[in-house]
């Protein structure tokens, strides 16, 4: 089991291109797809990882690892997730100091970048399905996206506001 976890997260780490969010479709496919964790739990963990300091990809690996196999699990997952980047960057620093000028790498990345954006849209739609969005809750999603995208609001404030809103709403329902 630990070996499977390690290999799974290593694969996730090795194919995450363009920052932590690009990891989402991979993690979702590997972890939810194998039935290790439910879709809803996965997106709950995503939301918490997102509102924490540090590297998002590291946060979500530690979180999922802990959920699956406690402390040893979190160690195995985070090591798996960062090992590929560590080795690749180290070899870049030692041997390939001018990789950014390589024409082949540059071409491949011109193809990779738009694909990564498409890959991020997929978990967005899965999350929308799993959250069971209605017109009312879809409004929250749209406002969240616009605040961050257009007004450059930090995700942490949005997360705090959404949680507070949820609690207030819960209290009102109870009273009414």
């Amino acid at each position: 089991m630990y070996l499977t976890l390690f290999i799974t997260f290593m694969r996730i780490g090795a194919f995450t291109i363009g920052g932590g969010y690009a990891m989402l479709p991979l993690i979702e496919r590997e972890v939810v797809g194998r039935g290790w964790i439910s879709k809803q739990d996965f997106f709950d963990i995503f939301t918490i990882s997102q509102s924490m300091p540090g590297v998002f990809a590291v946060n979500i690996s530690i979180f999922l690892g802990y959920r699956l196999k406690k402390i040893p699990g979190s160690l195995v997952c985070v090591l798996g997730a960062i090992l590929p980047s560590f080795l690749i960057i180290l070899s870049v620093a030692v041997f390939f100091t001018h990789i950014q000028d390589n024409v082949w790498v540059e071409r491949a990345f011109k193809g990779l970048r738009p694909a990564v954006v498409a890959l991020i849209l997929v978990p967005c739609l899965t999350a929308a399905k799993s959250a069971g969005l209605t017109w009312k809750t879809a409004f929250i999603a749209v406002v969240t996206a616009l605040l961050i995208w257009l007004l450059n609001v930090s995700p942490i404030y949005v997360v705090i506001a959404a949680a507070t809103g949820g609690i207030l709403y819960g209290l009102r329902i109870k009273k009414g």
């Binding site: 995450t16 363009g18 918490i48 960057i89 193809g111 498409a118 997360v159």
Partner: protein, 183 residues
């Protein structure tokens, strides 16, 4: 003592970075270029470019690269520089590790709590917006350079969403398409 300094600086970066990889960059630049002068601005720009071109989160990539370069620039041999990259990478993960263990411990206990449950009613739709924002922020002129980019974007979406192709396979296909289309 450069190893202790590296450790401390990257613990700080791991602890005070909110808002993802690119928000982290200004913090990293402030510490490693402006304050400590471990690397030059040119080297820093190179790290950003390399991070964009290699897999892995940018926070980890920069820690590994800066750890190595900073120790080497201080006149140590390469094997000590590898130790430096290890220390910086370890340090940037450490605060997350401690915080998440604490949160996970309480998360399991309080998940049934009424307030926590209602908070998640607000958080779940917000999570959809958070991911959408990440995709929207990446729809810029750096990632979409011409009509071919949109072609790749559309095909990648179709493959993964409609045909259920594994994301790793989609990434490999996209990389190969880049080699062919921009040849």
């Amino acid at each position: 003592m450069i190893f202790l300094q590296l450790f401390w600086v990257y613990v700080k970066i791991g602890l005070f970075n909110f808002g993802g990889g690119y928000a982290m960059l200004s913090l990293i630049q402030d510490e490693v270029v402006d304050r400590h002068s471990w690397i030059t601005m040119q080297e820093f720009t190179d790290i950003v470019a390399v991070s964009q071109m290699t897999p892995g989160p940018i926070g980890i990539n920069s820690a590994t690269y800066v750890g190595y370069t900073a120790v080497l620039n201080s006149g140590y041999p390469p094997d000590m520089a590898v130790l430096g990259s290890f220390i910086a990478t370890f340090a940037v993960c450490l605060p997350s590790f401690i915080l998440i263990l604490i949160i996970s411990y309480y998360f399991a206990r309080f998940k049934k709590n009424r307030y926590v449950a209602s908070a998640f009613c607000g958080l779940r739709p917000a999570a959809v917006g958070l991911i959408a924002a990440a995709a929207l922020l990446l729809m810029n002129s750096e990632n979409f350079i011409d009509y071919k980019s949109f072609l790749i974007f559309g095909s990648a979406f179709f493959l993964t969403w409609k045909l259920n192709v594994h994301p790793i396979l989609t990434i490999i296909i996209a990389g190969l398409s880049g080699l062919l289309l921009y040849g």
